[in-house]
Symmetry: C2
C-alpha cells in the first residue's frame, strides 16, 4: 500500500482535474451572461451539461471513494489548517452527497428544475402563483428525497443547508435568527415611523453610464481588486465568477438615473472577487481555492458594500471625485451623499431592499422553507403565509405574487436552504469589520481580511473561521448593535 | 441486435457529446485570446487539457469502436450525402487516428509540442535557428512515428495530410502544385519587374480605429454575416471560432495607419464565419457542423477577401462610404482604392504576402516538409534549403531566420501537412467564384455558396464538394488564369 503523502498527491491531482472542468463550466456560464448570442442557448445547454457531467464523474468515481476511505485516518490526525486535511473534508462531503444520489434521481431533479424555472418565469410575468404551485410542490418533494440520499440528517433542512453552509445546522441558524429578529423588527418599525418626517437626500438627474463605469472601476481598484487578474463587464444581473484564482470576473448593470445602484453592485461583487483573488497559493487549482461557505462569502460582499461603501468615511473620501464625475450631484456634500446612500424604505423586493430591512426578507423565507419542509405550510397556502410574515416582519403586504412569493429565482432553481446564508453573512460582516483595524486605508483592511479570511480559501467553515479571526462565535448582537447605532443616528431615534 | 437506425441515433448522441465538449474547449481558447487576464495562463492550460481529454475519451471509448464496426455496412450502403453515413465516415477516421496512438505517445507529443513552442518563441525573437533545430528534428521524428500509428499510409506525409485535408494525398497535391508553380513563378517575376515603373496608389494618413470597426462590421453585415448569431472582437492575431453554429466569433486587430489590414482581415474571417453559420440544421450539434476540409474553408475566406474584397466591384460599391468614414482617403477614387488594395510586393513574411505571391510561400513550405519527411533535407540544412527555394520562387533571400524558417508557428505546433491547404484553398476559391452567379448582390452570392458549399458541412471532402458545385475536379488553371488577367491588367503586362 502506498503511503499517505503519495495518496494525498493523487487526491490533489484528482481535485485539480475536477476543478479545471468545473471552472471551465463556470466560463460557459459567465460567457452566456456576458457575450453569447441568445440564438446559441440550446448549444450552450448541451456544452454546460457535457462539461459538468465530466466533472461530476471525477468525483463519483470509485477511486475517489477509495482515496476518501484510505486517507480518513491521516486527515483526522492532521492539524485543522492542513491543506490536505481540508481537501479530504471537502472530498468526503462531495463524494458522499453526489455518490449516494441515484443517477435516475439526479436526472429527474435536473429535468424538474429546468421545467420549474420555465414555469416560474411565466408565472412571475403573469403574477399567477397557481401556475407555479404544482412545480414548487414537486420541488419540495424532490429536495426532501434528496435529503434522504445525501446523508444521515435529523432534519431534511440540515441536508439542504449542508450544500451551501456546511458546518451549520437548522437549529444553529434558528438560534442566530432568534437573537436578531425581535430587535430588528422593532428597529425597522421605529425607523419607518420616523421616515415620514426625516427625509434623507436623494440623487436626481443624469449620471452618464460610461462615467459610472470609470468611477466604479476606480473604487474597485481602491478596494484592492486586481484588474490584472480580473475584469468588470456588463450583464443583465450582476454576479461574480471565478474562472481561476487569477481570473476573477465581476459584472454589473448601469442605469443612467441610478448611479448608486451600479456603484454598490460593483462594490458588492468586488467584495466577493477580492475574497477569491486572495486565496493562498497552496490551494490554487483545487476546489479549496474559493471562498469558504456562502455566509462567509456574503460577509465579504456586504462588508465592502455596506460597512465600507455605505459608510461616512467612504463618502468623505470619494465625494470630491464623485462631484467631478457627476455634476448632477453638485448639490449634495459628502454628508448628504452618505445619507442618500442610506435611505430606508420598507419594500417588497428583497434584492432592492436597503441595508436595514434586508435580513428580514431573508428570515421570512427561512421560516417559510422550514414550514414547507416540515409540512406545516402546504404549497397552496404559501401566499397567505407569505403575506402574514411580511406583515409581521416588515409591516407591509405584497400587492401580488410577483412582489411576493414569486419574486426570487431560488425555489424554482432548487436552491432551498440557500436564503439564511445571506443574513448570517450580514452578521459575520460586522463581526469581521469590528475586529479589523479601524482605517480608511483599504489596503490595511484588505491586508487584515487576506490574513484572517481570504487566504484560507475553503479550509474552514464559517464558525471556525470567525472564531479564528475574531476570537468569538458567530453572533447577531454586533450586527444588531451596528444597525441600531447607524440608523438610530440617521433617523434621529 | 439493435437495428441500424437506433444504433445511428446512439452514434449521433455520442457525437453530440463529443462536439459539446470540443466546442466548450473552443470557448476556452477564444476567451484566452479575447478576454482572459494573462495571469491565468496556467489555469487555462489545465482547463483546456481537462476538457479536451474528456472529449478525446468519448471518441476512443470501446463503444465508439463497436458503433463504427456495426454500422459499416449500413454506412457503405447509404447515399454519399446521407448525414448519418457522413457521421460514420468522420467517426471512423477519428476513432482510427486517435485510438491507435498509444497514450504514452500522445503525452510525449503533447509535451514536446509545448516545449517546442516555447523554444520557437525564444528562437524567433533571437533570430537564432540553432536553438530551434533540435526541437524541429524531434518534432519531425515524432510526427513520422505518429504517421505509423494512425493508419496504413504509403507515405507519412499522407498521414499528416489526412489530419487537415482528408481525401487528398501527397501526389494529388504535387500534381496541383506542378500545374501552378511554373506559371506563377513566371508571373510574379514579370510583375516584379514592372513594379519598379508601375506605382500603384497608397492609402496614407490616419484611419480612426473605431471607424475601422464600424466600417468592417458594415461590410461583414453586407456579406451576410449574421451578428445575431455571431460577434466581432479584437485579438492579437485574427481568427474565427465556432462556439456553435449559432455562435460564430470573428476577431481582428486594428492599426490606425492600415485600414485595409483590418478590413481584409474581417472579410477573411467573416468568409470562414459565413461557412460555419450556414451549415444545415440536420448537422447541428455534431462535429459535421463545421466547414469541410481546411482547403475548402480557406476557399471561403479567400473568396470573400480576395475575389470580392480586392475586386473592382467591391470598391465601386463601397468607395462612397469609405470616403465618408475616412477623410484621409479623399484623394483616391474607387479605381484608385481598387489599385491600392492590390499592390504586389515580393516579401518574406507569408501572412503579410499579397494575393499574387501568397501561394508561392505555401509551395516553398510544402517542398521543405516533403524533403524533411523523406530525409532529403536534414533539419540542420533547412535555412539553406529555405534560402534556395525562396530565391527560386520569389527571387529573394530572407535576411535572417525570423524572416525565413522561424516565421511560422506551424512546425513548432506540430502542424506538419497543414500548409498546402492554403494554396489549394486559393485554387478552389476561384473555381467556386467562377461557377457562382456574376453579381455584386452578395446575398445572391451567399445563397449560391450556401446551397453548393455551406449547407453540406463536413459531409464531403474537397474534391467531391468541388465536383458537385462546379462539375469539375479541383484544378490550378482557373486560379492561374485569374491571377494573370488581374495582375496583368494592373501592371500593364
Amino acid at each position: 500500500m502506498k503511503d499517505a503523502s503519495s495518496r494525498f498527491r493523487e487526491l490533489r491531482e484528482r481535485l485539480t482535474h475536477f476543478h479545471s472542468l468545473n471552472t471551465a463550466a463556470g466560463l460557459l456560464e459567465w460567457d452566456m451572461e456576458v457575450n453569447m448570442p441568445r440564438a446559441a442557448s440550446e448549444a450552450r445547454a448541451l456544452q454546460f451539461s457535457a462539461v459538468t457531467k465530466a466533472a461530476h464523474e471525477v468525483i463519483v468515481a470509485e477511486e475517489t471513494g477509495h482515496l476518501v476511505e484510505e486517507l480518513a485516518p491521516a486527515a483526522a490526525a492532521a492539524p485543522a489548517d492542513d491543506a490536505m486535511a481540508a481537501a479530504w473534508r471537502w472530498t468526503e462531503r462531495e463524494y458522499r452527497r453526489r455518490r449516494n444520489q441515484p443517477v435516475s434521481f439526479v436526472e429527474e431533479l435536473a429535468a424538474h428544475t429546468a421545467r420549474a424555472q420555465e414555469v416560474w418565469v411565466e408565472a412571475r410575468s403573469r403574477k399567477d402563483y397557481s401556475l407555479f404551485r404544482p412545480e414548487l410542490e414537486k420541488m419540495v418533494e424532490l429536495k426532501r428525497r434528496q435529503a434522504g440520499f445525501v446523508g444521515d440528517f435529523a432534519d431534511p433542512y440540515d441536508a439542504w443547508l449542508e450544500e451551501f453552509e456546511p458546518g451549520m445546522t437548522t437549529s444553529s441558524i434558528e438560534k442566530l435568527f432568534a437573537g436578531l429578529k425581535p430587535g430588528l423588527v422593532d428597529l425597522v418599525s421605529r425607523v419607518s415611523e420616523r421616515a415620514g418626517s426625516v427625509r434623507l437626500p436623494e440623487l436626481k438627474g443624469s449620471f452618464p453610464v460610461d462615467r459610472q463605469r470609470v468611477f466604479g472601476e476606480e473604487v474597485a481598484r481602491a478596494m484592492g481588486f486586481d484588474f490584472e487578474r480580473g475584469r468588470l463587464d456588463v450583464s443583465a444581473h450582476p454576479f461574480s465568477a471565478t474562472i481561476a484564482r487569477d481570473d476573477v470576473r465581476l459584472t454589473t448593470r448601469y442605469r443612467e438615473d441610478l448611479p448608486l445602484s451600479s456603484l454598490f453592485g460593483i462594490m458588492h461583487e468586488a467584495g466577493h472577487g477580492l475574497y477569491e483573488q486572495n486565496v493562498s497559493d497552496e490551494l490554487t487549482h483545487t476546489p479549496l481555492c474559493h471562498g469558504s461557505t456562502m455566509a462567509v462569502h456574503e460577509s465579504q460582499s456586504r462588508l465592502w458594500e455596506n460597512l465600507v461603501g455605505r459608510g461616512r468615511g467612504f463618502w468623505k473620501r470619494f465625494a470630491p471625485r464623485f462631484h467631478e464625475m457627476f455634476p448632477a450631484a453638485a448639490g449634495l456634500d459628502a454628508e448628504a451623499l452618505y445619507r442618500a446612500a442610506n435611505k430606508v424604505e420598507r419594500s417588497h423586493i428583497r434584492v432592492e431592499a436597503d441595508e436595514l430591512t434586508y435580513s428580514l426578507h431573508v428570515m421570512l423565507r427561512f421560516d417559510l422553507e422550514r414550514a414547507l419542509v416540515s409540512g406545516k405550510v402546504k404549497a397552496g397556502d404559501l401566499p397567505d403565509a407569505w403575506a402574514a410574515k411580511s406583515k409581521e416582519y416588515l409591516g407591509i403586504v405584497p400587492p401580488d405574487a410577483a412582489a411576493g412569493v414569486l419574486q426570487d429565482v431560488h425555489w424554482s432553481a432548487g436552491l432551498l436552504g440557500y436564503f439564511p446564508t445571506y443574513a448570517v453573512g450580514n452578521m459575520i460582516s460586522v463581526q469581521l469589520f469590528e475586529a479589523a483595524p479601524k482605517t480608511e486605508d483599504y489596503s490595511v483592511l484588505l491586508g487584515w481580511l487576506r490574513e484572517n479570511v481570504h487566504r484560507h480559501g475553503r479550509k474552514f467553515h464559517a464558525e471556525e473561521l470567525v472564531r479564528r479571526a475574531t476570537g468569538k462565535p458567530i453572533s447577531p448582537e454586533p450586527y444588531l448593535r451596528y444597525l441600531k447605532t447607524k440608523f438610530g443616528e440617521l433617523y434621529g431615534l
